[in-house]
Amino acid sequence: MRVLSGNDLTKYSTGLRCRLDARTKMVICLAASVAVIPLKGIIPLSILLLASTIYALFHIRIRIIFVCWSAVLLMGATALLCLKIMTVFWPEIGKVDIFIFFVPFFRVAVLVNVILPLALSSHIQDILTSLKSFCLPLFIYLPGVVMVRFIPSFINDIKLISESLKIRGYRINPVAFSLHPIRTTRLLFVPMVVRALRASDELSVAAELKGIGYAGEMTFYRTNKFSYPDYIAGVTAILLLFASFLFEYKDAILS
């Protein structure tokens, strides 16, 4: 999460990953999130999954994708196990089509693939500028900006909390969770919640004193510019979405 904590991005500044404007990544995120809702077929979802995986691989390390996918797979496997147990006690559920069962997890995997590049390969300042440049109403822009700005403070707090736990000799691992679930949860969440509340309060005060809610029109000190990789990414995304919908609704179109 080095990028979110405001660390230097210079190592990543070459290649396609940083050349894509934050707005392009945001729009890709939004389009993918909306598109996966009506899609149910194996081919259209597979097209999006493959394309989004390639997109993610351009932006972030394969290890991060692997960890996130493992988490999604674990969720899927847990859900499947629960379903199997349910069918033992409630046979009326009947046989479940395994692909239909995994459709929501396909959708999650696509979303993971498009959200991670936005979060992990963009400067937060670019995201803030992009949010501003969309000319959104203040009630959408303001919470959005506070949320984005909150991320690095929160990650910094998590680092400090984990360091403090180590100093005290408290272990946070599956064994500790099994032996002392309440205490371990408390060790982890109490400082996190307290710090989150304090950080959000501090940021709100900072925002107020800087005049972020000022009724007048805001100006932009910096402006983001689109370049040719943005156009290529945009056109490719549109074509892929079009192809996915074509496969999903081809029967309806042909008839």
Partner: protein, 467 residues
């Protein structure tokens, strides 16, 4: 510029007034200091002047608050912020953008200033505050002194007329504090009205025109800075000293005097990606029975050193010895204790007593409670045993986290800035505790910029950067 008449303020859901019948006037080109014990109402006063109380924190405000001739109650916070610039104790809390240039531009963008004008204002401020080297830096990469300077430049760039500074010296090293005093002196001459709220007094003698001492939300004494010369006054109101004695002698590497203690031998360390080592083959002794100050400018590696000594970070070369035996890194955390700066991250349980009992996990179950009670007595926390740790005051939290570090019975206890933002009374409690630990044969390392604490408690000092 600022006019307060019989101002009383009560926070929501509180019956007691945080400020009570406070009156004062501040003209352009004047600087005043508000000081007093922790919890006396200093920060509330800052909030009343900049409009956060009652506009943001709500609550009940009585009396008249007027800034630049306008009644604050009838104005919004954004409007008051045009006249009043606020600098917090930890400037990082007031940064909204993530790099220096964007931070300086942000408030102007919110006010609709054109990008050409913003560029002009920023370049003026960069020149004035010598920020050329850091203008493109990330906020998180700056030293505390640089952060303070950036925050002050951002505030001044808005031409507010009044500058409020809440504990500005709490995180600064002596050099940066001196530089801040110089900058404020220049602003005062230009006609800015300056309100400073601080516990540390030594840097303010030539700067402020008047001093107000607060107690229980009331101004109990006021006058020229010279009223603080009287030791009785300082003692009565729990204030710190107004002058600093020369620092104690440096801990010598070749000192043969110390028979027992830890030895750091050949310590070498560099952060990932840094080709230049922060520590290169450093050797020194940390003797038992001493309180040792770790001093040096911000960013010279004091906290990193503490993390290496406690095993939180891994040295690239070198060892730590105890009685001529190497201690493996994994064992170091068991034998050492470290208390980091922010107490909020280090408190987890429902009550103070439970916090200590859980921290005493290495002891046999039967004696944990007894040990916790003894430690509570030692730190004056017995009356707070049933309180939620997060509900304690800053000084009480600080004592509790130190107590939790101590209950582990470490050979070395390292305290990182234990008195940041604490008044004279709390500082003395911590100083006495450190001396008492040393008398019990422990080694206490205290990383601090607090010269008064160092003079009060420490026998030796280690100066950073270490060669």
């Amino acid at each position: 510029m600022i006019y307060l008449e019989n101002v009383s303020y009560t926070y929501p859901f509180q019956s007691k007034e945080a400020l009570s019948s406070v009156s004062f006037e501040l003209k352009p080109g004047e600087a005043v200091l508000f000081t007093g014990k922790s919890g006396c109402g200093k920060s509330t006063l800052v909030r009343v002047i900049n409009g956060l109380a009652p506009h943001y924190y709500k609550g009940r405000l009585e009396g008249k608050v007027s800034v630049n001739g306008s009644d604050s109650l009838s104005r919004g916070i954004h409007d008051i912020a045009k006249d009043v610039g606020t600098l917090f104790q930890d400037p990082e809390n007031q940064f909204f953008a993530l790099n220096v240039e964007d931070e300086m531009a942000f408030a102007h963008e919110c006010r609709g200033v054109s990008s050409e004008n913003i560029r002009r204002i920023i370049s003026k401020m960069v020149e004035r505050f010598s920020l050329g080297k850091v203008i493109h830096s990330k906020i998180f990469d700056l030293s505390e002194g640089e952060k303070q300077k950036v925050a002050l430049a951002s505030v001044i760039s808005l031409k507010p007329g009044v500058i409020l500074l809440d504990e500005p010296s709490a995180n600064l090293d002596p050099c940066a504090t001196k530089e801040l005093a110089y900058l404020l002196g220049g602003l005062k001459k230009e006609g800015f009205a300056i309100v400073i709220v601080d516990h540390r007094l030594y840097w303010l003698s030539g700067l402020v025109d008047r001093v107000y001492i607060l107690e229980h939300g009331k101004i109990v004494k006021s006058g020229a800075f010279s009223i603080l010369d009287d030791e009785k006054v300082r003692k009565k109101y729990g204030l710190r000293k107004i002058g600093i004695d020369p620092l104690k002698k440096e801990l010598s590497k070749t000192d043969r005097f110390f028979a027992k203690g830890y030895k750091v031998d050949g310590m070498t360390f560099a952060y990932n990606g840094n080709c230049q080592a922060l520590f290169d083959n450093v050797t020194l002794k940390l003797p038992f029975g001493e309180v040792i100050a770790v001093v040096g400018d911000n960013g010279t590696g004091k906290t990193t050193f503490a993390k290496l000594v406690t095993g939180l970070l891994k040295m690239s070369a070198g060892h730590i010895f105890l009685n001529n035996r190497i201690i493996p890194r994994k064992k170091l955390l068991e034998k050492t204790g470290i208390v980091l700066q922010n107490a909020d991250h280090q408190l987890y349980m429902k009550t103070v007593e439970e916090e200590l009992i859980i921290a005493a996990g290495h002891l046999a179950k039967g004696i944990r409670k007894e040990k916790a009670e003894n430690i509570m007595d030692f730190f004056g926390l017995r009356e707070l045993a049933g309180r939620h740790p997060q509900s304690l005051s800053g000084g009480q939290k600080q004592r509790l986290v130190i107590a939790c570090g101590l209950i582990k019975e470490p050979d070395i206890l390292i305290l990182d800035e234990p008195t940041s933002g604490l008044d004279g009374v709390n500082m003395k409690i911590i100083s006495d505790m450190m001396k008492s630990l040393a008398a019990q044969g422990k080694c206490v390392l205290v990383i601090s910029h607090d010269l008064e604490l160092i003079n009060m408690a420490c026998g030796y000092r280690i100066c950073f950067p270490l060669s």
